[in-house]
């Protein structure tokens, strides 16, 4: 079965991104597919490569990146939500005249249409938020 996953909250602040990760991992290990995870609202902040969590805590971004690479999950950050919150890839930074970008490996920035498309193309949509 194909699961779509939506993450609505940022890392560490809320447990939502942890629960979503544990769900996606369990789904993949159970033989299901998770073709895409869509990060919306503060969820876009999960995809920053600049975070330095304490050594004795999990690294949420690196966990997602590793899961995506192992199972070919498309990690999509909503562009509209990202712009408000200061999440940019190199292209966006150039386009917006910003001098830095902060997206981590394995994540990409795209539009809200990717969320709707995920809803259409998957069998079940799971939302994790605050």
């Amino acid at each position: 079965m194909k699961f779509g996953v939506v993450v609505n909250e940022g890392p560490y602040t809320h447990q939502a991104s942890d629960t979503a990760y544990n769900f996606a991992k369990a789904a993949l290990e159970s033989g299901h597919e998770v073709p895409r995870v869509f990060f919306y609202h503060d969820g876009v902040n999960v995809g920053t490569r600049l975070a330095v969590p304490p050594q004795d805590e999990r690294n949420i971004q690196k966990n997602w990146t590793a899961l995506a690479q192992k199972h070919e999950v498309d990690l999509v950050i909503c562009i509209a939500a990202a712009q408000r919150r200061g999440m940019l890839d190199a292209n966006e930074a150039k386009r917006q005249g910003k001098d830095a970008d902060n997206i981590a490996e394995g994540f990409r920035i795209s539009g809200l249409g990717q969320l709707i498309e995920m809803g259409i193309q998957t069998d079940r949509l799971m939302v994790f938020g605050d």
Partner: protein, 136 residues
Amino acid sequence: MADNIKKFLYVNRRAPYGTIYALEALEVVLIGAAFDQDVSLAFFDDGVFQLTKGQNTEEIGVKNFSPTFRALGDYDVTKLYVEQESLDERGLTAADLQEITYEDEDDDWAEKPSLKIVSRAELSDIMADQDVVLSF
């Protein structure tokens, strides 16, 4: 395309402005309208506050997005379900809500109300008849 039409429900249970969820939910609805799915919006609990008349955000310095609800008809988003019990609990009536309408192309473009006030039981039935439920 017809055999790929799903029932999408957008669940709105939060008040506007205190948090961004209501605004960003509306942004999804607007983009989603281009996908020709069967779209419904549910407003209950504090979500009914999103639809009230007379919102003026000048003093708080936040954008007033409430007029956008009136544009939903142009995007063929015409089913906005509002729970009666949630209105009652909050001291609101239909008269406190914005008038939101659409032009029905199957009925000589007659102007019809998009807001449908339903009971909690009816709303439960509507929610239980969806393919995709997006909560914000």
